[in-house]
């Protein structure tokens, strides 16, 4: 049975062979790590979450530099050579410029950690700072509300 209707997708990230998604449930977060043939699930209940920490990383800058350098290299090759080689190098240069621009406009990268009493897990589904801040802004009031209700009930 699909649980899609019970959850709202917050964010996703990953690479070629692994996909990470974070889903918002009624009283918990569902973190899905999907490999080629297996899906793994972790649930973080709102009343257990102690902290959410996001920190900026340098990979955004590094990738911008690497991609820009590759673009420049292909551009030089396109200018220096002629014939089909020049066309291929030109196409590659345009591709690199487009990827660099996409990476640049997506904004700085980040790493997000969720802490409970028994674990400190990195959430690979949030890789851009802008998106992570937005997700944290969504989650913060929900978690605070649940934890306040639990505290009142325990009194």
């Amino acid at each position: 049975m699909s649980l899609r209707k019970q959850y709202k997708r917050l964010c996703s990230g990953g690479h070629l062979f692994y996909r990470y998604t974070l889903w918002l449930g009624q009283d918990h977060l569902l973190y899905i790590s999907a490999g080629m043939f297996v899906e793994e699930y972790k649930r973080f209940y709102f009343h257990d979450i102690q902290s959410l920490i996001v920190h900026q990383t340098e990979s955004w800058k590094v990738w911008n530099i690497v991609l820009a350098c590759l673009g420049a290299l292909f551009l030089i090759m396109a200018i220096a050579s002629d014939g089909p080689g020049a066309i291929m190098a030109g196409i590659m240069a345009i591709l690199m410029v487009m990827i660099t621009a996409a990476n640049f406009f997506k904004g700085p990268s980040c790493a997000v950690y969720i802490q409970t009493a028994v674990q400190n897990e990195k959430l690979h589904s949030m890789v851009r700072l802008k998106k992570a801040q937005k997700v944290l802004d969504t989650l913060k009031p929900l978690i605070v509300l649940v934890q306040r209700e639990v505290a009142v009930a325990e009194r």
Partner: protein
């Protein structure tokens, strides 16, 4: 005293950095971060209750610990349980054995921690031969695909996907390959 470590340098974060809703700098490494800390950080970790010892021979005892007093019963099998064996899942009181069986049979979705994606396996098996280098392996992968599709048709797909599209596609691709091999052998 709340202690939250910087995920980058593991140094202790200043309490001024908590719940600012914007990026601040770590005192130790200077990395820009945002730390949302919740009241659960002050909560003591709950520990399981030990079973209460039987006062006399007339009291009902736990099925698993005969020397402990029964506190409740399993709602699936009816066995008496002490406080230690009483497991509350989805507002149901269960014994460890029923919980284990339920988890194996995937009765409790919120306890499920992994799924094997048989539909993806079938689809990849059926697609491999279409990459021109490996076309000859279809003599093995096509029947294997059909086996996976038939054997695991009822297995659930990913937790957020309930359709059988991948299985159907895998079945069609494998069918085409088997038809191709049949025509090849007939023409010989």
């Amino acid at each position: 005293m709340i202690r939250i470590a910087c995920p980058k340098c593991n140094g202790e974060l200043s309490q001024n950095a908590f719940n600012t809703s914007s990026l601040t700098e770590c005192n130790s490494c200077g990395v820009r971060l945002r730390a949302d800390v919740f009241p659960a950080i002050n909560k003591q970790t709950e520990t399981g209750l030990p079973g209460e010892a039987l006062a006399d021979g007339t009291e009902a005892s736990c099925f698993y610990h005969p020397q402990k007093k029964a506190d409740s019963h399993c709602e699936l099998c009816g066995r008496f349980l002490c406080a230690l064996c009483d497991l509350e899942i989805n507002a149901q009181h269960l014994c460890p054995a029923c919980l284990e069986i339920g988890q194996k049979k995937q009765k409790f979705t919120n306890l499920e921690n992994h799924r094997i994606l048989y539909d993806k396996i079938a689809l990849i098996l059926s697609i491999i031969p279409f990459t021109l280098i490996f076309w000859f392996v279809s003599i093995i992968t096509a029947p294997a695909t059909l086996f996976v599709v038939i054997r695991y048709w009822k297995s659930p797909s990913g937790i957020m996907h309930s359709n059988k599209v991948r299985f159907v596609l895998a079945f069609i691709f494998a069918g085409i390959q088997i038809a191709g091999w049949t025509m090849f052998f007939v023409s010989l």
